[in-house]
């Protein structure tokens, strides 16, 4: 009998106009948002994390912080310097602390292309250099890394290579000008997926200092720990040591010590916010979908009043009519959900494909068949739920009145 209701409802659905299908937009968008969100979820996180340069290497970073209040210059933040680095190096559990400078340089290629790029310094010493390379998250693609005190050689990010197809087409051995000084390209890094990292010029600290005159100032201090489990404690120790050295009170720090966990937390809380936002949109869409189905089913009951009368006159009980309309509403919801699942899956597949292409990752879209089944079943239930009142209305039609149409 149930299969008969499905059959009848299906036949009625087949003869529905475009108007009925448009009311499914709400459920469609809702389901699509959820399926795409979950399918993309992991990829989205990876993509954002790599954009923010949060690598898996567990290190603490120290930067000058505090907010410059008032007009520029009046509230200048005191920069962190080589002496801060020395203080940090002496903190317990600190394995290695290095200072780096990051600044903007004018890059001129042989063909005359001029571009402003970020340049990052490499510390002296090979252990220190390896530490930076490790945190970089990629290997050398062409040529060699800087290993000693090269004064006029640089390593470029993947973005400058021919493969990146960004219009630079730099090769190993090319001569380039940075702030009008000539340098030789010693190596090109492989893709990291981060726009910051892939367009970075790496050079030793001395030549960068010559170009930008940092003196003892440092842009950032990277700290490697002996015991990574003590990260939070070490972070507090560093803060304490720096407060003492720089003579500031708690709450007035003009520096920021951050751990990857904290950065991840920030990024993830942004992501969570996005997810909650999308979930709310999905919820609202489904709610609109429910109203749409109530509306279209209500109209359908009026339109098919005569059919209801006919069916009652040939022996349909109230329950027969009720189930027919109830299932029809459910099927409407189901169709909306099905289209949503298809589009949601497509979005996550293409989205993940795009992320993989962009960031060189090998992510797989999270296509969860359990989730899909739940979505479809849920859509049917939502539709059926919306159909209860119209179906009851249909079932309770007086046969004589209904027959009149």
């Amino acid at each position: 009998m149930i299969s008969d209701y499905f059959l009848l409802s299906f036949r009625n659905l087949k003869h529905r106009g475009v108007r009925s299908w448009l009311t499914l937009l709400g459920i469609f968008i809702g389901v699509m948002a959820v399926v795409a969100l979950i399918g993309l979820g992991a990829g989205l996180k990876t993509a954002i994390n790599s954009q923010f340069g949060i690598s898996s290497t567990e290190l603490i970073t120290v930067q000058a912080g505090g907010i410059t209040m008032g007009p520029p210059g009046s509230g200048a933040v005191s920069p962190i310097t080589v002496s801060d680095l020395r203080v940090i190096s002496n903190v317990n559990n600190v394995d290695l602390a290095i200072g780096r400078n990051i600044g903007t340089l004018k890059l001129e290629l042989r063909d005359g292309t001029i571009e402003f790029v970020s340049a990052g310094s490499l510390p002296k010493g090979s252990e220190e250099k390896d530490f930076v390379y490790d945190s970089f998250g990629s290997e050398i693609m062409y040529g060699f890394l800087l290993s000693g005190g090269e004064m006029n050689e640089v390593v470029l990010g993947y973005g400058f290579s021919k493969e990146a197809d960004a219009g630079y087409d730099v090769e190993v051995g090319d001569k380039i000008f940075l702030n009008d000084e000539d340098f030789k390209v010693k190596g090109i890094m492989d893709k990291t997926g981060s726009f910051i990292m892939d367009y970075l010029v790496l050079m030793n600290s001395d030549p960068l200092n010559d170009l930008l005159d940092y003196g003892d100032d440092l842009s950032i201090i990277l700290v490697r720990l002996k015991d990574k489990d003590l990260m939070d404690k070490t972070k507090l120790d560093i803060e304490k040591a720096l407060r003492k050295y720089r003579d500031v009170d708690i709450g007035d720090e003009d520096f920021v010590v951050s751990t990857p966990a904290a950065s991840l937390k920030t990024v993830n809380s942004i992501l969570d916010g996005v997810q909650i936002f999308i979930a709310i949109i999905a919820l609202v869409s489904v709610f609109i979908g429910i109203i749409g189905i109530v509306n279209t089913m209500g109209t359908s009951v009026v339109e098919r009043r005569k059919d209801i009368g006919i069916m009652k006159s040939i022996g349909a009980k109230n329950s027969d009519i009720f189930w027919q309309f109830f299932i029809e509403a459910g099927l409407l919801g189901f169709v909306g959900g099905l289209i949503g699942v298809i589009f949601g899956t497509l979005i996550s597949v293409f989205g993940v494909y795009g992320i993989n292409y962009q960031f060189g990752t090998e992510l797989v879209p999270a296509i969860d068949f359990f989730l899909i089944s739940i979505s479809l079943f849920g859509s049917f239930c939502v539709g059926a739920l919306a159909g209860i009142v119209p179906a009851m209305n249909a079932a309770n039609q007086n046969p004589v009145d209904a027959l009149r149409g």
């Binding site: 006159s313 040939i314 027959l403």
Partner: protein, 261 residues
């Protein structure tokens, strides 16, 4: 036509009233004290002009409606006290409806339309299909089973409706102006089908406003006017005789005459 009086009574209306209230204080007495008795195998016509209450009468006989007062027996069961669901069940099993405007479901094919009443009786799909094919053959519409109603002519649609009315092998066929929407030629074909069904032993009750049609095919005609039975005529050996019983009954039961406003 032979020995009507010894046959089983299949439908009986006992002093049935159906009053509607329209608006605040207008009382419409659609059916106003009708008694009727239909025997197995009868071809009964309910005759009357529009507003005579014949449609309401048919709805009551067909158990689509319940009377305000009085009792209606269908095969010995008092249907005026039954629930909606029981009424539907009885309707589906014992009565086959044929309407003036055919009333086929437009979204279903010919075959599905004919099979639909069987579905509501819980008959399985295979058997429904086979039986529906048989009925379509009976009304000479085999080969049209996959057509939709809007692809058929009026006469063909009415034949589909007849096939549908036969679906659950009901004892009574209830035809409401079956030729009303048809030209005289196709109307005759449809009436011949009904006559054939009657000869096969089915009881037929036809509602019509056409006295010629009523007297040509029916063996008993109830003449309705203003919700009351005015006279009953019977066909006997090719002659039309006015039933004397009713006149006696009328004299005793009618006390006061009140006209509808």
């Amino acid at each position: 036509m032979k020995k009507e009086r010894t046959k089983r009574v299949i439908i009986e209306l006992k002093n049935v009233f159906k009053h509607y209230r329209m608006g605040e204080d207008v009382l419409v007495k659609a059916v106003d004290g009708v008694s009727m008795s239909v025997n197995e195998g009868d071809f009964v016509a309910i005759m009357g002009p529009s507003g005579s209450g014949k449609s309401t009468c048919m709805n009551l006989v067909g158990s689509l409606d319940v009377p305000t007062e009085g009792k209606i027996f269908l095969d010995g069961v008092d249907i005026s006290v039954l629930s909606e669901s029981d009424l539907a069940q009885i309707r589906g099993k014992k009565i086959g409806f044929i309407f003036q405007s055919f009333n086929l479901i437009p979204n279903l094919t010919t075959l599905e339309n004919v099979a639909l009443p069987m579905m509501f009786q819980g008959i399985n799909q295979e058997e429904r299909k086979n039986r529906a094919m048989g009925f379509l053959k009976l009304v000479e519409l085999d080969g049209r089973e996959d057509h939709y109603p809007n692809e058929l002519s009026g006469g063909q649609r009415q034949r589909v409706a007849i096939a549908r009315s036969l679906a659950n092998e009901p004892e009574v066929l209830l035809a409401d102006e079956p030729t009303g929407n048809l030209d005289s030629k196709t109307g005759k074909i449809v009436m011949d089908f009904l006559e054939k069904m009657n000869k096969n032993g089915r009881t037929i009750i036809m509602v019509t406003h056409d006295p010629d049609l009523a007297q040509e095919y029916a063996n008993i005609v109830y003449w309705l006017k203003d919700g009351k039975v005015e006279k009953i005529t019977r066909k006997k050996d090719g002659k039309i005789i006015v039933d004397e019983d009713l006149i006696m009954e009328k004299a005793s039961s009618v006390k006061k005459k009140e006209e509808v406003d």
